[in-house]
Symmetry: C2
Subunit: 413 residues, 2 copies
């Protein structure tokens, strides 16, 4: 049995019509009106398939095909994007889940358990911190009240923004524990393409450390202040950026460090800035190495503040330890791939995903399809249609196999 490729690709194209940006991507920052329009479209498709749609208190939406008793096999991802997002990141996994259910309904095949497909609030973290917020709250990793109080980078409060787009639901969090969870996603990196593989079985997720660093110096006139008397936050920001590249290079792959956001005040050509605020994103698959990088960075900041006569403060925006997925789910994905005569490649994910939250409560793993040139968080994000269809086929058979598998406590760890 194969999924309906035309229908899958048509839904991806239709959702990409909601808040398009030039270059073929989308801007649907979490809980903006644009995100609301995208949600409405996906919910309408869930209702077309007669799914039971539940919306919880932080806006996670789960559509369930109640074809059998028991806890469901769940798939899902997110439909929010970064400001300059692609059309596949997240949405592909959600729409593939719908296609899996519709395909089985059309074929008159009833799985042994309910099948659910969800999309989770603020996975990207581009508007609210932390990222993967919805799935984190779903599994009980953050109190609902704390989540509702979070303030966006534009000053809006999460609770108000849920209300404004009509997605402050009544279903409680933590939500019901699924039987198993599997997420299908584009790789967002260059590995699969570079080794010529069409499918990846994801064995875990990198640990992520996000912090916001604020540097306070002395605003002054750019022409009259001798270099030796400056307390220049822009210079300190420059040193931090250069240091992080040096650290990542020295540690070697898979260590990555990124400064993606820098804001100077007052940000004028002829004024030494008063303050600089920048974000630091540090990731590694190994928790101890990640801690070592964090520690070394903190030491550097301390020395730099002394050296440059500025004050530097740091605030943690998000911190997730590396995650290892369930070997049994990984094995099932591998064997489904083999049944399609496609060799999968086991790899860790460099990006955070909702699946890593579900890994805390139920057997979980992920399926990757290649991203052309590894480009993501960019309108140029692209995956070949054939790979999109193949990934959805693998999701279909993986979900059926998961519905037939009993995960007993004895073999769960």
């Amino acid at each position: 049995m194969r999924i309906n490729s035309g229908r899958l690709l048509a839904r991806i194209a239709a959702l990409a019509e909601v808040s398009p940006i030039s270059g073929g991507g989308n801007c649907r920052l979490a809980l903006t009106p644009e995100d609301g329009h995208g949600r409405d479209l996906v919910v309408s498709w869930m209702k077309d398939l007669d799914l039971r749609v539940s919306i919880d208190v932080v806006g996670n939406v789960i559509g369930t095909w109640e074809c059998a008793p028991g806890s469901p096999v769940m798939t899902g991802s997110h439909i929010d994007t970064v400001r300059t997002g692609g059309r596949f990141d997240g949405t592909y996994g959600v729409l593939a889940g719908l296609e899996v259910i519709q395909c089985l309904q059309d074929a008159g095949i009833t799985p042994k358990r309910p099948l659910s497909v969800g999309f989770f609030t603020n996975e990207e973290g581009a508007r609210f911190a932390p990222d993967m917020l919805g799935s984190l709250v779903y599994v009980g990793g953050m109190a609902v009240e704390d989540a509702l109080d979070i303030v966006a980078i534009d000053g809006a409060q999460l609770a108000d923004e849920l209300e404004a787009i009509g997605y402050r639901g009544s279903h409680p969090c933590p939500g019901p524990t699924p039987h198993a969870f599997v997420e299908l996603h584009v790789e967002q990196g260059p590995v699969l393409q570079s080794i010529g593989r069409r499918l990846g079985t994801v064995t875990g997720v990198q640990g992520i450390s996000w912090q916001e660093v604020t540097i306070n110096g002395q605003s002054n006139h750019a022409g009259t202040t001798p270099m030796s008397m400056r307390k220049d936050p822009a210079y300190v920001a420059g040193r931090i950026i250069v240091f992080l590249r040096e650290l990542a290079t020295r540690y070697g792959a898979p260590q990555v460090c990124t400064v993606g956001k820098v804001d100077l005040v007052p940000n004028l050509v002829n004024v030494v800035p008063a303050t600089a605020t920048l974000t630091v994103d540090i990731r590694n698959t190994d928790e101890l190495t990640l801690q070592k990088a964090e520690h070394e960075f903190a030491e550097f900041l301390s020395h730099l503040a002394d050296e440059e006569n500025v004050t530097i403060s740091s605030r943690q925006l998000a911190r997730f330890e590396p995650v290892t997925f369930d070997e049994r789910v990984v094995d099932i994905i591998d064997s489904v791939c083999a049944s399609f005569a496609v060799a999968p490649h086991q790899l860790p994910s460099g990006a955070g995903h909702d699946a890593q939250m579900f890994a805390r409560v139920c057997p979980t793993a992920m399926i990757f399809v290649p991203s052309i040139n590894g480009i993501s968080h960019n309108p140029a994000e692209l995956t070949d249609d054939e790979d999109l269809v193949l990934g959805c086929d693998v999701l279909l058979h993986t979900m059926l196999r998961l519905a037939n598998t009993s995960f007993t406590e004895e073999n769960s760890r």
Copy 2:
């Protein structure tokens, strides 16, 4: 004869009430409604003194006391500020000019030539580039049409903004050539305070080179893109900032380099930016050294673009050669200082000033008073009241002496 100190300080305090910001400074970016309110207040004071007020086509405002025939001795400066400006930068010189005229009127003393006091549009360059725009156009250094077409950092056009605040006047530019020009200003640097002098005679102005550098790289996912495959504009911006500090330190004083403005796109924690735009401010009192710094920086950018696989383009925002003031005016200021039993200190200005434009067309120099801790372009900008009053006394007697001095062609160069 001495000026009325209470009246001078009261006018400074009253103008500081227009668009105050916390910390005691002001935000009156050029041609905003706030700048308009400040202009209206100063013009009302000009009219109180029965000055003839002329507004020219780029919004420069000149108040002239037509007490005698001939071309006027002119003083003046600006009342626009940077976004986080102090209350003395520019405004002090304008209001001191008013006080000089009122003091002479009160005393019944009629100078041998008319006295003018002006304030010039967009001296700071914090909203429109280049800085010192109004005085540049006044002396014929830029065509009026070119000036009117300039677009602000907020997208507004200069002509429209003049119109909106009612300062698109009818007097033509270039404007009438003054007999001589003298500008009184706070130092905005730490030199006078550090050597314990209360007055500075300014012998010239540093050359200024402003450019906007744009780096185009490859926006991508911060977690999945190996360091070796990145084309990261934020990293390149960091390298530029660190390089410019190193260059300025290597050249030694008076070389200064500043990056005051950095903008990343999309500016998000988990996205390697697509572009970075930053401003570079390079100054030196020696034109050849300034050219050497510009050349070395351009070479660095070229190597860096190759090394980091990005494209870098650079656009000149402003370029002024170092200026040498008229020795005869400098001598007059020195001798007036001596008559107050105050030893002046001759120094170049690290900042650009309207006086440097007038130096192109008439005998010109400047008077500085100390800035406490050298702080400027900052709400904490401060000068002792006694120094403000002393500076205005020196301006008064300098203008009287200039009105009595004949500058013949023979000794003008």
